[in-house]
Each structure stands twice: as C-alpha cells, then as structure tokens.
Amino acid sequence: MERLFCDPRRCVGCRACEIACAVEHAPSKDLFVSVLRGELGPPRRRVQTLGGEPYRVAIGGVALSLGCHHCDPAPCVDACITGAMHKENSQTVCDTEKCVGCWMCVMACPYGAITSKQTALKCDLCPDRRERTGRARYACVEACPTEALFAGALEAFQQALAQPVTSSWEVAR
C-alpha cells in the first residue's frame, strides 16, 4: 500500500502541506475563494516541531509533517460509537455523515492525527484528486516545496532516507 512519509531532514516547517490539505478539502478547492467565503477548514496533517535541541542536531532536521498512519488495527475504529470510522481497503476512513462528534476517536488516536471540527476530520489520502484534476494524487506531497513529503512504500522511503540530502539546485549546478 502506498503511504505518506516525511523526511525530517528536508522538512523546514513551512506548512505548505497544511494549506494545500485545507484547500483540497474545501468545497471550492481554491485558497482565495475558500478564505473569502470562510470555508477553509483545518488541515488534516500538521507540521510539528521536532523535540529537543540535541535531537534536532543529531538528525539534522527541525520539523516534521504528520498525519493519519492508517493503523491496523486502528484504535480510532475501535473507539467509534457510530460506525463512522472504519477500515476500507486498509485505509482508515471517516464517514462524516455518520459522525456525531463525540471525540472518542480523538481520545483514542495516539498520534493526535484526528482533527475535531463538528465531525472528526482526518487524512483521507485525497481519494479523487488525481481523477478530478489530472495532477498528483496527494495535495500535500505536490505542495511540498522541499520534497520532504514522500508517497510510496516504506522500503522505497527507507532507500530515500539512506541517500544524503541534496537539493535540486545543487544537482542542476
């Protein structure tokens, strides 16, 4: 299964992924229009500061973009009293029509990856973005200006992590 990862060495904490995520999940899919109409919701992934100075130096990074891990078994699915939170082809999906906003899933999620705003909101892996726009599937990955976000299998990401950090600017030069 394709999953989303973040390379902390490349993440500078710019929060472009958060904006892209919020826009992707707004009705208009447009930053300006959704802000103007007041319909820009919270992002479903969040940029977080990496803890502890020595730790940051050791891994050479300052921030990390985190979202739903689509766990299996998923504590949020166990906790859901309505059946809104469920597994679908190994993804964890929230049916917001069913959600009553009891926040049991928020209490259960050990990653703090579920946002509470009337209903529970979480990463849905942009199910229709590629078809709708003809662009990349994941809004956050496409928006990441430092290529910190990575979509793919764990093994592929581990290979990427084994490479030294370079920039396309350096490569071009």
């Binding site: 504590p75 209490m107 050990p110 579920i114």
Partner: protein
C-alpha cells in the same frame, strides 16, 4: 488457513464486544459456524441512545453496523435469550427451548443499569437508558411528561438530562455524590459542568440522596432523605451499570464483580471467553482486574478474545478509565484514576504527587496529574486542546517518564513530533508497527 474453520463459535451478546468478535472470527475463518445470540432484534450503539432521545438521530442511525451485517458475514443471528449454560457439555440453552452446542464460547452479555433500592422504584414512568426499549419507553411518555428527575450525575444521567432538556422538558438532576461526574472528573472540573448545566436550565443538586419515588401506579415525585420533594412525571436512572452474570450462576466460572478473565480474555473454563462490560480484565492503571464498561474497550476485547478463540495467542494490554463527551457544546476528555476523588470506585489516596494546570483562554481548561514523573490522569475541557488527548493517553498508558518534557506538556497541544525523542527512548513500550516505523524513519 487459520485453524478453527471446522469449529462452532457461539457468542452471547450482539453489542460492541459481540459484533466485534463475530466480525473478527469471520474474517479469519470463512467456513466456521458462527452464531450470535441476543434477545434484541437490532445491533445498535448504546452510547448513541441519548442522541436518539434528543431527536438528533433517527433509529436507523443507531445501527453501527450495516443493516445486512449478519448476512454479509454469514453469521447466524439468533434472537433469543440464553437461559441455561452447561459448560461441561459445551452447550447453551435458549429461551425458545433449543440447545446450542459450541466448541468455543464468548460471553459478551454486557451490563444492566443499577437502580437504587428505594421505595417506589418499580413504578411506571421510571427508566434506565441502556436499551432501545428504554428510549422508546421514555419517548412514549413524553407527551404526558413535563418534568423529569434524573437520578445520578454520571455520564448516562447527564446525557439523558441534556437530551430531555432539548426535548423541552423541565429537568432536575439529583446526585448522591458531592459533585457531578464523580467517576469522570475531579471536583473543580466537575463544577465547570455543573455551572454549564445550570446556565442551560438544568439544575444539578449534589449530596441529594433520594429516599422514595412517590405516586400511585405512576411516578408523581421523588422525595429526598432530607424530605425535599421534586414533582415529576418521568424518572431516568443513570447510576452506573452492573455486569449481567445470570448466565454463569451455578457454573464454576470464576467471577468477582464480573467474569474474571486472564490476559487472553479466557475465563476459568478453557473454551469459554468473556469480553465487554461483563468481563473483568486487566486494568493498566489499577494493576488489578477491573471493569471499564466503555465502548472502545468492549470492541477491542471482542477482537482480542476472537483471536484467542482462534488459537492465535494475543495478549490484551489492558483497559483504563477514559471518557469523551460533550455537554451543551462543550467537549471534555478525561482519563486516569488520579482525576477522581479517592473512594471505593474512584482513585486511591496518594494517586498523584503533582498537578499541572492551565487555562490559556476562557472556556479552555487543561489539567495533568503526575506521579513520579509519569502521567496518571488528565482532564481537557474546551475546543482547542482536545487533540492532545490521544497523545497524553498513550504516554499515560505506556507509563513514560515525562520529566524531560514536563514544562511543555500543557503547551504542546498534540505535538507528537516534539515527543518523538521520548518515544524513541522508550521504544520497547511502543511496539506497534506504526510507532516503530515512525521512530525508524525519523532516524532515531
């Protein structure tokens, strides 16, 4: 193929634990015979009954599984009551007179509302709020009811009180304890909600011990030990639940307050398991078997019991007291024992040695209880901080020493990123694949 395909699995109870177990079994043994016994027609969510009572949800929305759940999973649903149990013969007797033989049995019989033993408690117009029929009974009575008394200031009592207020009734809550939500909140946190209820027109009387329900056949008032009388046409009882143990009466199955189970959720009889509100299983905070009659625990226990019934040894990590609820739009999440006032069901003296508190904005209140630099309880009230709940909860569950992040604990919000070094240092406690990957890929 998993072993167990030729076995007969019988599950008594079709709520959170029972349906979770049935689903887990079916996913792993496509050909096994799985029967679920319940005297109720539908499989519905009990925690949603107060939403139904308030008129926020229709009946169909209470069904947390698709309507064709049993057909889809090829599970035999038997609408009957299990009335007899012969463990030595591996057999269950049903209320329709038939017998049901099993190879593996799961007791998921749940619990029933605890009614106070006071005069007049059997009168017409007095309901618990545990079953769909309770909600139907209350709703049928609404046209003739103007005033309601709720006995009990726990989660169910207060959810019922708020729901009936939304239906336009005059609601009064009578609580024995010194404060409401005594099984969920500390006194100062509970006072916040007592105030919210009062502001919304629902007075909560604490230290109010009911003495009798007065009236002819139907309830007309509730009288306190002090002599004070509260006239009402409807009484809702929300004073906790007791496990349904009738079925194991007369068997040798070990029980205490509930059915005692080991860490595989197995009872003292080898092929009989128990899960959900009837099962007294490991409590991670108390260090002794306990019943945390909570939806998430029941679902998890149902799944883990099912895996063990299939011979796939799976250890139950244990449950803990935790609650999430909203009253009149104000959310609160609390977990841990230290939150509670010491008492037989509550915390124990000396449960915590330090309290961190902050109220960064009006309507937002956070409190974390520590003992020897580990989290032993927390309360989060208001919109902003609740996403921190899951992260605080896992740090508490895994008993992580938080000394290095204590200053930031209330400021962090849900910042898992900041806590990653701590999780990496304690990675043997975070065995889940997702945590391991996170720790590996971040390069600790």
């Amino acid at each position: 193929m998993t072993a167990g395909n030729n076995q007969r699995f019988v599950i008594i109870g079709a709520s959170a634990a029972g349906s979770s177990a049935a689903e887990t079994l079916r996913r792993r043994v496509p050909n096994a015979q799985i029967s679920v016994v319940s005297d109720e027609q539908f499989t519905y969510s009990k925690p949603l009954l107060s939403y139904y009572l308030a008129g926020k949800l229709g009946e169909a929305q209470l069904f947390f599984r698709p309507p064709d759940f049993y057909e889809r999973y090829n599970i035999k649903k038997i609408q009957a009551r299990a009335v007899g149990f012969r463990p030595e013969k591996n057999s269950i007797e049903l209320s329709d007179g038939t017998k049901l033989d099993y190879d593996k049995l799961l007791l998921a019989t749940g619990a029933s509302p605890r009614f106070p033993k006071i005069e007049g408690i059997q009168k017409a117009g007095i309901f618990g709020l545990r079953k769909l029929e309770d909600a139907h009974g209350i709703l049928a009575r609404l046209p003739k009811a103007k005033r309601t008394v709720v006995l009990g200031g726990g989660l169910v009592g207060l959810k019922a009180a708020a729901a009936l207020k939304e239906r336009g009734l005059d609601v009064t809550v009578l609580v024995d304890s010194p404060h409401a939500l005594s099984q969920m909140l500390d006194e100062s946190s509970a006072r916040i909600f007592e105030k919210i209820f009062a502001q919304n027109g629902v007075p909560i009387h604490t230290r109010a011990k009911p003495d009798a329900v007065l009236g002819q056949e139907r309830v007309e008032s509730v009288q306190l030990a002090s002599g004070e009388v509260f006239p009402c046409e409807l009484v809702v009882v929300g004073k906790g639940v007791d496990p349904n143990l009738e079925l194991i009466e007369g068997t040798t199955i070990r029980k205490d307050y509930g059915v005692l189970v080991n860490d595989c959720l197995q009872t003292s009889i080898e092929n009989v398991y128990a899960a959900g509100d009837v099962a007294q299983a490991r409590d991670v905070l108390r260090g002794e078997p306990w019943i945390n009659a909570l939806w998430p625990c029941a679902v998890e226990q149902g799944r883990i019991a099912a895996l063990n019934m299939l011979g796939k040894e799976t250890i139950y990590r244990g449950s803990m007291r935790m609650n999430s609820v909203q009253f009149f739009g104000v959310p609160v999440i609390s977990a841990g024992l230290a939150v509670l006032t010491p008492g037989p069901l509550g915390g124990r003296p000396g449960e915590h040695d330090e309290t961190l508190e902050s109220s960064p904005a009006p309507g937002i209140y956070r409190k974390v209880f520590l003992k020897d630099e580990t989290i032993v309880g927390f309360v989060l009230i208001g919109d902003v901080p609740i996403e921190a709940a899951g992260v605080l909860r896992i740090l508490m569950e895994r008993r992580v020493n938080i000394a290095s992040v204590k200053e930031e604990l209330l400021e962090l919000g849900p910042d898992l990123g900041y806590l990653l070094p701590l999780i990496a240092e304690n990675k043997e406690q975070f065995v889940e694949r997702e945590f391991q990957e996170l720790v590996q890929t971040v390069g600790v």
